[in-house]
């Protein structure tokens, strides 16, 4: 049976590790990430957690692993040298993209650059071949040309090849033949086809996704191999699974073939943990806010499930893969605050990052950041940051805020810091609003679940701004993503292009299509019949003539019911329907899950039976410094409650309760804050 379980989350600055024992006891550790070779830090984290928990490596049955590695490779352009095979006449579509400048920061900027093409033009090859939009062969692939291309690729130093032909989502035969020829000629290269990676209409997005998969392939395979070997050398004999963007865990083999599934691997961990919390506590609807050093990531769970999206722009590159719907804005603790020439307060896009970091880190940063302002306002404490292991320099923060904010604004240092905090709150609240209101949901019906190192610091203000009734802080919010990697289930997603109007679909045919997909997905799940499984059938629909589909659950196989479900979603999103317009069924999707995640209790260090504030300190409330009692989160037992104004101290942040706010330690070691009604606040 499963023994102890470990979650390892390799972030940009820290590698977080969580270990859960058979009885639910939880241990945590944080070690520095080693950017040059992230395996080193991850293995160090493994060793450290064994020390902390006093365990031997062979007691560990399972490791769930997530990493920002894939994302970093895209951002830093450090993927493998990659070639692209495209239909004749179309090798440049990767560079031309959609020709517009929507992802540009500013429309009036004449100095903008498009993102560097993922494949340089010299490595983009054209293959004489053509299908029509129904998938009929217009011209068969020219095999001599393919052999010639293979020979050129062999001389080029390329390590990966993406094959993306027009209409391959309707008929994969040409891509399959091309792959066959290339694999025979180039056995050591990573070769990937668009009909496998993203069988969906839209040649630019499909090509971009496939190319990204190719460029990640060789490097991820090396990483996965090295990490597995490293763990084995440490004596680990259990199962190693990887966190996918969809919030589920997958086998090494699967992610090695589809590394594009790893692009949101890190943030997905937090969302998985949130799902499990929802299951355990019945809190089914929550907005999730993950605030780290450089970004604020917002996502949503509704009826206990994360919202998924099927398309995103990553660092200006289109990528289409089922992924937790996360909106990320550059308003992390390290974002730099500044005053423009007109006297306006702005935040970012520049960030002090981890190095030099905020001025208060005392590593040479001189520009004021959001963290510096929070420190001055008492929302972060200089002495207890990271449990006192990292002392913050208040004087440096004061100097930075004074020089760059207070002076130009002609305000006192505290007022300037307050202004920055308010602007940061406004940016974050907007992002939360976009993710709910814009999708037709009312945030007032949601809990605000905050995590990440800095998550609690702004939580109360954000919830108040959106009129949300409750703030929930999970145990160990700074390691929540790593915790999610132990709690997550196995999950496999598949999709297939349909592209038919609903009139042309009948129930039996649809059942066959879904059954075929399901037969594929279950192969990716564990065989053990004792593990409960669930399959969710979903589909993408749109009105004929619209571009964007809406992802809905399959209500039944009856086309009329599908239409009704689509129109209900359309009305919720856009406030109208068009009853006489044909509806297109674009894609069918299945999400298959096996309940392998830890569902037992989570037990943290024993709290004190009769806790009391351990000290008092000054915190800004509505712009005025007040002396407040400080409670240590780890001292508070289940069932204990306290009222604001007060501070609850976490390892890396603080939660400042206002008058009338009430905090309670609920089941599962959750800290639940019920906000005072608006009038009282």
């Amino acid at each position: 049976m499963v023994l102890k379980r470990i979650g390892i989350d390799v972030g940009g600055t820290f590698t977080d590790v969580v270990l859960i024992e058979e009885d639910g006891r939880v241990h945590t550790a944080k070690v520095p990430t080693t950017p040059a070779n992230r395996v080193i830090g991850a293995i160090a984290g493994f060793r450290r957690i064994l020390e902390v928990a006093g365990c031997a490596p062979d007691e560990i049955g399972f490791i769930g692993h997530g990493s920002t590695m894939a994302t970093n490779m895209v951002v830093e352009g450090t993927g493998a040298p990659t070639a692209l095979l495209a239909t004749q006449g179309f090798r440049d579509l990767l560079e031309l993209r959609r020709i517009a400048r929507h992802d540009r920061a500013d429309l009036y900027d004449l100095q903008f650059d498009n993102p560097k093409p993922l494949v340089p033009r010299r490595w983009r090859y054209e293959v004489p071949e053509r299908l029509d939009w129904r998938g009929n062969v217009v011209q068969a692939p020219d095999e001599a040309a393919l052999a010639d291309i293979a020979a050129r690729i062999a001389r080029s130093g390329v390590e990966a090849v993406a094959i993306a032909f027009l209409h391959a989502q309707v008929n994969p035969a040409h891509e399959q033949r091309a792959a066959e020829i290339l694999r025979a000629a180039l056995p050591n290269l990573f070769i990937t086809c668009s009909h496998e990676v993203n069988p969906q209409q839209g040649e630019y997005e499909r090509t971009s996704t496939t190319v990204m998969n190719a460029m990640l392939g060789p490097v991820c395979a090396r990483y996965i191999g090295a990490f597995g070997d490293g763990l084995a050398a440490e004596g680990f004999r259990g199962e190693l699974l990887f966190m996918g963007s969809n919030g589920g865990l997958a086998e090494a083999e699967t992610v090695a073939a589809r590394p594009v599934l790893l692009l949101e691997s890190g943030p997905a961990g937090g969302v998985s943990a949130a799902m499990r919390l929802a299951e355990a506590t019945g809190r089914q609807d929550a907005i999730l806010g993950d605030m780290g050093g450089t970004t604020f990531d917002v996502s949503l769970i509704r009826e206990g499930r994360p919202e998924l999206r099927t398309q995103a722009l990553l660092h200006s590159y289109a990528v289409r893969t089922p992924s937790i719907d996360i909106d990320s804005i550059g308003a992390g603790g390290g974002s730099i605050a500044w005053v423009d020439a007109g006297g306006g307060v702005r935040i970012g896009p520049q960030s002090a990052g981890a190095d030099p970091g905020p001025a208060c880190y005392g590593r040479g940063g001189t520009r004021p950041t959001v963290t510096d302002c929070n420190l001055l306002l008492g929302h972060i404490d200089a002495e207890t940051f990271l449990e006192g292991s990292f002392r913050l320099d208040r004087a440096a923060a004061e100097a930075a805020v004074g020089e760059h904010l207070a002076r130009p604004l002609n305000l006192g240092v505290l007022d300037a810091a307050q202004a920055v905090r308010a602007v940061a709150n406004a940016l974050m609240a907007q992002s939360m609003r976009l993710l709910t209101v814009e999708r037709g949901y009312d945030p007032r019906g949601f809990d605000y679940l905050c995590y990440g190192g800095a998550g609690p610091v702004h939580a109360i203000d954000l919830a108040r701004e959106l009129e949300m009734p409750r703030v929930v802080v999970p145990p160990a919010p700074g390691l929540f993503s790593a915790l999610g990697m132990v709690l997550a289930d196995r999950q496999v997603d598949r999709q297939a292009a349909v592209e038919r109007t609903l009139d042309a679909v009948d129930a039996a045919w649809l059942e066959d299509r879904y059954a075929a997909l399901e037969a594929e997905v279950v192969l990716g799940l564990p065989r053990d019949p004792g593990i409960p499984r669930s399959v969710r059938r979903r589909l993408d629909c749109r009105y004929a003539g619209q571009p964007d589909s809406i992802l809905i659950d399959l209500p039944s196989h009856d086309p009329a019911a599908i239409r009704a479900a689509f129109e209900e979603a359309h009305r919720r999103l856009w406030n109208f329907t068009k009853p006489d317009q044909p509806v297109l069924l674009n894609n069918i999707r299945v999400e298959a899950r096996a309940e392998t995640g830890w569902r037992g209790p989570l037990r943290f260090a024993e709290p004190i039976a009769a806790p009391a504030p351990w000290r008092r300190r000054q915190v800004a409330m509505k712009g005025v410094m007040q002396d407040l009692p400080v409670w240590r989160r780890r001292d508070l037992p289940t069932g204990f409650s306290l009222s604001g104004p007060a501070v609850v101290e976490e390892a890396s942040s603080n939660l400042v309760l206002g008058p009338g706010d009430r905090a309670e330690i609920a089941q599962g070691s959750l800290l639940v804050v019920t906000l005072a009604p608006a009038e009282a606040a």
Binding site: Q88, G89, F90, D92, L93, E95, L96, R98, I99, A100, R101, H102, D106, L107, Y108, D109, L110, Q111, F112, N114, R121, R122, D132, W133, L166, Q201, G202, D340, A341, G342, G343, G344, V345, Q418, A419, A422, V423, A426, L427, Q430, R433, L434, E438, T501, D503, A504, A544, G545, Q546, P547, D548, H570, L573, W574, N575, F576, K578, D580, Q581, P582
Partner: protein, 577 residues
């Protein structure tokens, strides 16, 4: 008002514009709106001053400064009620930029008072007129360009005014798609109305008004500071506009473009005196378009980070002679003034301002905001049955080059300046229309040589599957190539061909439409873009990379980059190695 409240209100106005645009794009019927994003949204204060806009289409937003005021004044503020939406497209009656861009304007009420206006504007792919797609330049006057909609109420009490809706829909060739477009623009307005009203209720209408006023003043102050940094002086330039190719008797002389820019202290004045009279054909600019091109240029050469709103335009004054091609009078036709002449005005201004801000200007660009339109009946019965649509219009924005910059190459295959519509997916074009796309690629040597190379043009080649269809080309720089800056060479000109068997017809950038039939092939290639700086100063490694990537051909080494034959041979050998 404290700075905190102000910043919260200000940023929520921009977020509102963004939400409105998203609502439109996700629900529109026309590919150019939903995939291309040829739509815009903005928020105005109660006095119809633009206070926030999305990251959309500059030409739609600048002109909305004029058209929103015109729309509200035409109806009369006092007659407006909650749930109203004003529709308008006409440049003469409603201050529009050109007839295909249709504006919806909605008052935002809190209790009995108007606290703001919101507007959405979308490009309708057909508004009637003489040729399918409503984008031909060969028109006698504005009546030939399609339905003229003066500012009138299209919604009252959030219900469509059915009779008017019927008149509008029956004046377009694809009413079912148009209805989706209309509903999407309405949805955008409703989203904006709700958000702004919620903000006003939360913080109070007076606070909203004050924040709006401060936002305008703030941007004005920033813009004045930025303008102050430009050296004082008088800067002049001239250029020529290509006339529309027409039948005998049609004007054929190039139209002079002239500007005199006077920069003094924190203000800048643009005088277009000397520019030619308005002309026959749809290349005239209404004043709103000329203002927008001018404002765009000022914003682009100063500080792009200044929050964009009408306050940015206060330090800018513009004199454009009435009845000229940059301030045309009724009933001159205008369709391509907005998309083709407008970027030419910007290139003219860059030419004038190059001595003042050499590091900020760019080589001239392709300036064709639009390129190809097809319209006709779909012969694919299965598709017609599935979609319920017999007439199929295709409007496909194309990508030319953007000019080289002082420290970097131009951009390949991109929409430039005031336009920003995206292309439609090849797979969607083929699925939804009787066209096959045979090629879409970058064309080597179309970017002007220079120390920094101009951006390359792209080429799209279609095979026609309609039994019979109209094909309209609309581009710019068919004759005048995009020139370089500071010694950079010119990029290529616009090219369009219709091939019927072995017969090749060269189609002018602006002129009559062609009739195409099954099997005909249409090639469309916008202009490239000008280089920046002397080609002899081009870094050899960059030249080598360009050669390896096929952005320049071996022939260009001696011809355009003026290498000696020996140097060229060395470079070619290096590229092969």
């Amino acid at each position: 008002m404290d700075i905190v409240t102000y910043e919260i209100l200000r940023s929520s106005l921009y977020a509102t514009a963004r939400e409105m645009k998203l609502a439109m794009m996700r629900t529109a019927g026309s590919p150019i709106v939903h995939s291309g994003g040829d739509a815009s949204a903005a928020v105005f204060d109660a006095e119809m001053q633009l206070v926030a806009q999305g990251n959309d289409i500059p030409t739609m937003l600048g002109s909305a400064v004029i058209s929103t005021k015109a729309s509200v004044e035409a109806i009369g503020r006092d007659r407006l009620r909650p749930g109203d939406v004003i529709v308008s497209n006409d440049v003469y009656l409603g201050g529009g930029n050109h007839q295909p861009d249709v504006q919806f304007t909605r008052p935002v009420f809190v209790d009995d008072d108007i606290v703001a206006f919101v507007m959405t504007r979308g490009h309708w792919t057909d508004i009637g007129g003489q040729v399918p797609g409503s984008y031909t330049t060969l028109t006698w006057d504005v009546f030939a360009e399609g339905i003229r909609i003066p500012p009138v109420l299209l919604y009252r009490d959030d219900k469509p005014v059915e009779d008017l809706m019927t008149v509008i829909l029956q004046n377009t060739r694809d009413p079912s798609v148009r209805l989706l477009d209309i509903q999407s623009q309405y949805a955008g307005c409703v989203v904006g109305d709700r958000r702004i009203a919620a903000i006003a209720r939360r913080h109070g209408p007076a606070a909203l008004a004050e924040a709006m006023r401060r936002a305008l003043d703030h941007s004005e102050r920033l813009m004045r500071e930025a303008i102050r940094a430009i050296p004082d002086g008088v800067y002049e330039a001239e250029d020529e506009l290509e006339p529309v190719a027409g039948p005998p008797g049609w004007p054929t002389a190039p139209i002079p473009l002239r500007v005199k820019v006077t920069k003094s202290g924190d203000a800048i004045h643009f005088d277009y005196a000397g520019t030619g009279a308005q002309t026959r054909g749809g290349i005239n600019c209404p004043l709103s378009v000329t203002c927008n091109s001018t404002w765009f240029t000022v914003k682009a050469i100063t500080d792009v980070s200044i929050p964009i709103n009408q306050g940015c335009y206060r330090p800018v004054t513009i004199a454009a002679p009435e009845g000229s091609v940059v301030n045309c009078a009724f009933p001159a036709s205008v369709v391509a003034g907005n998309t083709e002449t407008s970027p030419r005005i910007i290139d003219l201004l860059f030419r004038a301002l190059a001595p003042a801000v050499p590091e900020r200007v760019v080589g001239q660009s392709n300036c064709g905001a639009f390129s190809g339109l097809f319209g006709g009946m779909d012969p694919d019965e299965a598709r017609v049955t599935a979609t319920g649509r017999r007439y199929v219009g295709v409007i496909d924005p194309h990508a030319g080059g953007m000019g080289a910059r002082a420290t970097k190459d131009g951009v390949n295959g991109v929409r430039v300046y005031v336009g920003n519509a995206g292309s439609t997916s090849v797979e969607i074009i083929e699925q939804t229309s009787p066209l096959t796309v045979q090629e879409w690629s970058l064309v080597p040597d179309t970017g002007g040589a220079g120390e920094w190379r101009g951006g390359l043009a792209s080429r799209r080649v279609y095979r026609v599957g309609y039994e019979e269809a109209t094909f309209t080309a609309c581009g710019e720089r068919g004759i005048h190539p995009p020139l370089g800056q500071f010694g950079g060479a010119a990029g290529s000109t616009f090219r369009c061909e219709v091939r019927r068997g072995d017969d090749v017809t060269l189609v002018p950038a602006k002129g009559p439409h062609e009739i195409v039939q099954t099997g005909d092939v249409v090639l469309l290639q916008p202009a490239g873009a000008g280089g920046y700086g002397d080609p002899l100063r081009r870094d050899r490694q960059r030249l080598l990379d360009d050669l390896k990537d096929g952005y320049v051909t071996p022939e260009a080494l001696t011809r355009d980059y003026l290498l000696s034959p020996a140097d060229a041979a060395n470079l070619m050998a290096a590229a092969d190695g």
